[in-house]
């Protein structure tokens, strides 16, 4: 593919991520922060998000396995994940966190477990999407775009 086609492919893909709600305007903000002094800024922050999310999802699984679930702890972990997903613009993950917190408030274990599963799904999806996005950007760069 030539540069023009690669550019179009990247543009289309990016737009689809916004249209499908995977990303919101905060992701644009991140991209605008990237400059020559920090050409890897978006990748760096997204990578931090992946690490942090994986850690939090693991913590949440542990929290919910306890004999006596500490909902304050669960809520604190979900709150952290809500914050970081909001900071990078991972809208669907953020929304899943909001639902999750509602079940925490109700101390509803079933609900929390369902939300955790949903959270894992959304996180996995956005991770794949972003990795694909970075690959397309890389292809474009290598083609001279």
């Amino acid at each position: 593919m030539d540069v023009v086609q690669l550019k179009k492919q990247l543009g289309d893909y990016t737009r689809s991520l916004f249209n499908e709600g995977f990303l919101d305007d905060q992701f644009n903000q991140l991209q605008q922060l990237q400059d020559e002094s920090n050409p890897e800024f978006v990748a760096e922050v997204v990578s931090l998000f992946f690490q942090d999310s994986q850690r939090l999802v693991n913590e949440l699984a542990k929290d919910l396995e306890q004999q006596s679930v500490d909902f304050k702890k669960v809520d604190a972990h979900v709150h952290q994940l809500k914050g970081s997903s909001s900071s990078i613009g991972a809208q669907r993950v953020q929304k899943a966190c909001i639902s999750f917190r509602n079940y925490c408030d109700e101390q509803n274990i079933e609900g929390c477990l369902k939300c955790l599963q949903q959270l894992k799904n959304e996180y996995s999806l956005v991770k794949n999407k972003l990795e694909t996005l970075f690959k397309l950007e890389q292809q474009l760069l290598e083609a001279g775009g």
Partner: protein
Amino acid sequence: MELDMDAASLSNGMGVENELHVLAVDDSLIDRRLVEKLLINSSFKVTTAENGLRALEFLGLGEEDQKNNLKTTGSKVNLIITDYCMPGMTGYDLLKKIKESNALKEVPVVIVSSENIPTRINKCLEEGAQQFMLKPLKQSDVKKLRCQLMT
């Protein structure tokens, strides 16, 4: 002590005349990285801290400083931006400590939070916070802050 300090802030504080120095406090690494970039893009000098205790140490209000009854030997900052929700010492607790200090009470403190809770906002403003801002911060928010500080 693990503060993120750039080389310039390790030097003896003889910064550029117009350079404004901000201390940004947040327990989230992602958010520290974001706010740091936002601030640098607006020509601020930035130091970040991951919790209130580290922030107080940097400002010269740490436990050791208090015990030894030292005048503040902390670094001079022009602005403190702190997250509200932090484990242990919240942004509100940190705000109180700063306003209780003769050395630091004039330093503007901005509280940021992902949650828009009026009682929380009022509480902070009443305690002397310069402003309350919603996360995630945008470049335009930071530019406005800079303008406010310069006047």
